[in-house]
């Protein structure tokens, strides 16, 4: 079981995933990875967790000087930079440490668990610097990526606009050519960017905005669709020290993630904000998509981490809170609520959701590292919508149960579990909503080109074979394979259906597909756990915990697959065709 000192994630579980299951030692020195994980856990606990409540109650504020955030956030990120963690995943020639994404992900999960709002700044900064490093010119990399890799400047992603959220084709930010200099093709940007996390703050030396905008045609009109989107680097402070024409029009007041200043930014209220083109015109969306898998896995990972901490908090609370007596006992001392069957059921569901989510995201992180192998890339593309959505939905479910286990106390702001729930509620929304992910899975990843499905099927079958050879896991694999067959049968029916009706029930399909994937992830973990050396008592308990969580998932969750597929298979259009007047 988790140690009482595991406040963020279970150390044993992280080690289990990295070493026992995913064999990180094959590619990276195992002791170095452990040292980085221990460093991350310590830093996250001492400097991120410590202002978790404060960053929620002291929201960012805006005055004439710009946005002010809680000073502890800046201090925490200073420690993060001093520890070299901004640079962890970058190449050595960029001042980085060349760590695999798997190690970076495992490290980052601790910071997200401790304080996801503070952790959002380095997450965005790394994503920004990675884009510039991949597509920018050497001069742009030097000027804008390096200071972010060093943790001196932070970065943002300016995609959405008030009228363009999930649909980036509606973007109206205009980029007018403005000559050329040593940093590349210069443009003047004009437009409004909405939901910009870290859009302004007072803790980093500069802010590098990456802005999606359209270059007008000769007729002065912006091109339609997403093909005309280009990516620009627009720093808050220009290389000559002058302020760029970027202003904060307002702060968004969110239910969670409050430490992350979320802004409406106006570019070009005066002469136009200076922005340098990254790569070629019209490549903006393609460039963004290249980074999409990692960004979406990071969102899933954050969601997993939030669910995970709420599980550890409820586990601890359930052992301390004395309430009621065992069934049939009327007198005597009250017992800790963990002795009540329904509380154990809730805890085991949380464990299955939280540990399953973390395992899935780490598995996908390993696939990111295997980018030279086409099969791994194809499998990653298929699994990414699940890695983004499942932890977002079920990490949140674990947060919800945490409030329930805490009872009335969980509903108060004195405890962390309500805030963890509010923080996590963002994750099914941003970086592609659950509905968008469902369409991505069913459309782009399956119906358009389903070549990755056999790869996944082979993984399921291999895990099933291993599981069937282990006495205590026997009987689990067939139900997973049966659920997979149901998915296949359903896809057969969908492919016969007119294209405009194929997406009517894409989201229930995503849920079903996600649960089968998680069944497989749990079986993988159970097989690994069953093979651990269990001579020591703590190891035996750990392994049994994994196997029980797997069994619980198969008993109580996997049967839901059939229910979700019902509507998909029947081709129910009851909702899709419902006249608006009937709502």
């Amino acid at each position: 079981m988790a140690e009482a000192t595991d406040k963020l994630l279970s150390r044993r579980d992280v080690q289990f995933c990295l070493h026992d299951w995913l064999n990180i030692g094959e590619t990276t020195d195992a002791e170095t990875v452990d040292a980085i994980i221990d460093l991350s856990a310590r830093l996250a606990e001492e400097h991120f967790l410590s202002h978790y409540k404060a960053s929620d109650t002291h929201e960012p504020s805006l005055d004439a000087d710009g946005v002010h955030i809680l000073p502890q956030i800046g201090e925490a990120l200073g420690h993060y930079a001093d520890a070299g963690l901004f640079a962890a995943g970058f190449a050595e020639e960029l001042g980085g440490f060349d760590l695999p994404f798997l190690a970076c992900a495992a490290s980052f999960a601790h910071f997200a668990a401790a304080n996801v709002a503070t952790a959002a700044y380095p997450m965005l900064t790394a994503a920004n610097a990675r884009l510039i490093a991949a597509f920018g010119s050497p001069a742009q990399v030097e000027a804008f990526a390096r200071p972010q890799i060093a943790g001196e400047w932070f970065g943002t992603m300016c995609l959405s606009e008030p009228q363009a959220g999930s649909s980036l084709a509606e973007i109206r930010t205009r980029a007018q050519p403005d000559g050329e200099d040593e940093l590349g093709q210069r443009y003047r940007l004009q437009g409004n960017k909405m939901w910009i996390s870290g859009g302004d703050q007072d803790v980093s030396g500069n802010i590098v905005h990456l802005v999606l905008a359209k270059v007008p045609g000769i007729d002065g009109k912006l091109p339609d669709g997403t093909a005309g989107l280009s990516l620009f680097i627009a720093p808050k402070i220009l290389p000559d020290g002058a302020r760029n024409d970027v202003s904060v029009a307002g702060l968004n007041h969110k239910m969670g993630y409050r430490g992350t200043a979320n802004c409406l930014l106006n570019f070009g209220e005066n002469n136009g904000a200076i922005g340098w083109l990254v790569g070629q015109p019209g490549e903006g969306l393609r460039q963004m998509f290249m980074m999409m898998n990692e960004a979406r896995i990071s969102v899933g990972l954050g969601a997993a981490a939030l669910g995970y901490r709420s599980y550890l908090l409820s586990l601890q609370y359930a052992q301390e809170r004395l309430q009621g007596r065992p069934m049939g006992v009327r007198d005597g001392e009250p017992v800790a609520i963990i002795h009540h069957p329904d509380v154990r059921r809730m805890l085991l569901s949380q464990k299955a959701y939280a540990e399953g989510s973390l395992a899935l995201c780490l598995y996908c992180a390993k696939l990111v590292d295997a980018h030279g192998d086409p099969d791994s890339t194809a499998l990653l593309d298929l699994l990414t919508p699940i890695a983004k959505t499942w932890p977002s939905e079920y990490g949140l479910a674990a947060n919800d149960i945490a409030i329930q286990i805490h009872g009335g106390y969980g509903y108060t702001r004195e405890f962390h579990v309500e805030q963890l729930w509010r923080d996590n509620r963002l994750n099914p929304i941003h970086e592609g909503t659950t509905g968008i992910q469902a369409m991505d899975l069913l459309g782009r990843k399956i119906l358009r080109d389903g070549s990755a499905l056999p790869l996944l099927k082979a993984k399921l079958e291999a895990a099933a074979k291993r599981a069937e050879s282990i006495e205590e896991l026997r009987g689990l694999a067939p139900s997973m394979l049966q659920a997979w067959s149901a998915i296949e049968a359903c896809l057969q029916q969908l492919s016969d259906r007119p294209a405009e009706r194929a997406f009517d029930n894409a989201t229930p399909f995503l849920w079903a597909f996600g649960h089968v994937v998680l069944g497989w992830i749990w079986l993988e973990q159970a097989v690994t756990a069953a093979r651990l050396d269990r001579s020591a008592e703590t190891q035996a308990h750990f392994a049994e915990g994994k196997i029980r969580a797997c069994r619980h998932f198969f008993d109580s969750e996997l049967p839901k697959v059939a229910a979700w597929l019902c509507a998909v298979e029947a081709g129910s259009d009851t909702a899709a065709t419902a006249p608006i007047e009937t709502f």
């Binding site: 140690e3 009482a4 000192t5 150390r11 044993r12 080690q15 020195d29 002791e31 170095t32 452990d34 040292a35 980085i36 221990d38 460093l39 310590r42 830093l43 420690h79 001093d82 520890a83 070299g84 963690l85 640079a87 962890a88 440490f97 050396d533 001579s535 020591a536 008592e537 703590t538 190891q539 750990f542």
Partner: protein, 249 residues
Amino acid sequence: MKILVPVKRVIDYNLKPRIKADGSGVDLANIKMSMNPFDEIALEEAVRIKEAGKAEEVVAVSIGPAKAGSDTLKSARAIGADRAIHVETDEEVEPLAVAKILKAIVDEEQPQLVIMGKQAIDDDNNQTGQMLAALLGRPQGTFASKVEIDGDHVAVTREVDGGLETVRLALPAVVTTDLRLNEPRFPALPNIIKAAKKPMSTKSPADYGVDTAPRLKTLKVAEPPVRQAGEIVPDVDTLVAKLKAMGAV
């Protein structure tokens, strides 16, 4: 000046030790193990002395299983030790044998200063530093809360029962650290990665001609008794009566 810092791999100080069911010891399987916190403080102090330009080299040494070399000594190099000596053994090594091995290493390395934790948090012996100083015939400053190098002397402020006592030792000397000496740093990522490239030599107790056979036998390891619930009594008379009944007065 060269500084030698012995560091021990022990159960992490945050963890609650679990006793093995057969009472033969503490269950350490897959448990987080860390550098003994007192030793971490000793290492931090050595690195600070080096950073202040008063020492040229910090050498960390650990006696223990393979992991003491791969984990504990790597983390010692990440914190700032320049190189490491791992004396590998899977046997339990008692303080006297540790002191003898360390003496042999000191004879070989000739450090001006040995700084080590006053005790290890697993067995709480508080013996090795004193034994080492005696074997070497060198001065010792134990329970240090302040260490100042002053030419060929070191001034050590000691935490003693009555308060603080400062002793001035001629170098070479042995210093053992108390908790308030300093606050150890986090080893940063670049240093963690560089640590793997810093040299480490691996030895065995036999290389130093030391017999590590235990002189003590562990009979049984048990949890401390569970604390009984208290009781609120209405007045002093009842209290005295209860205490008398318990035979406490």
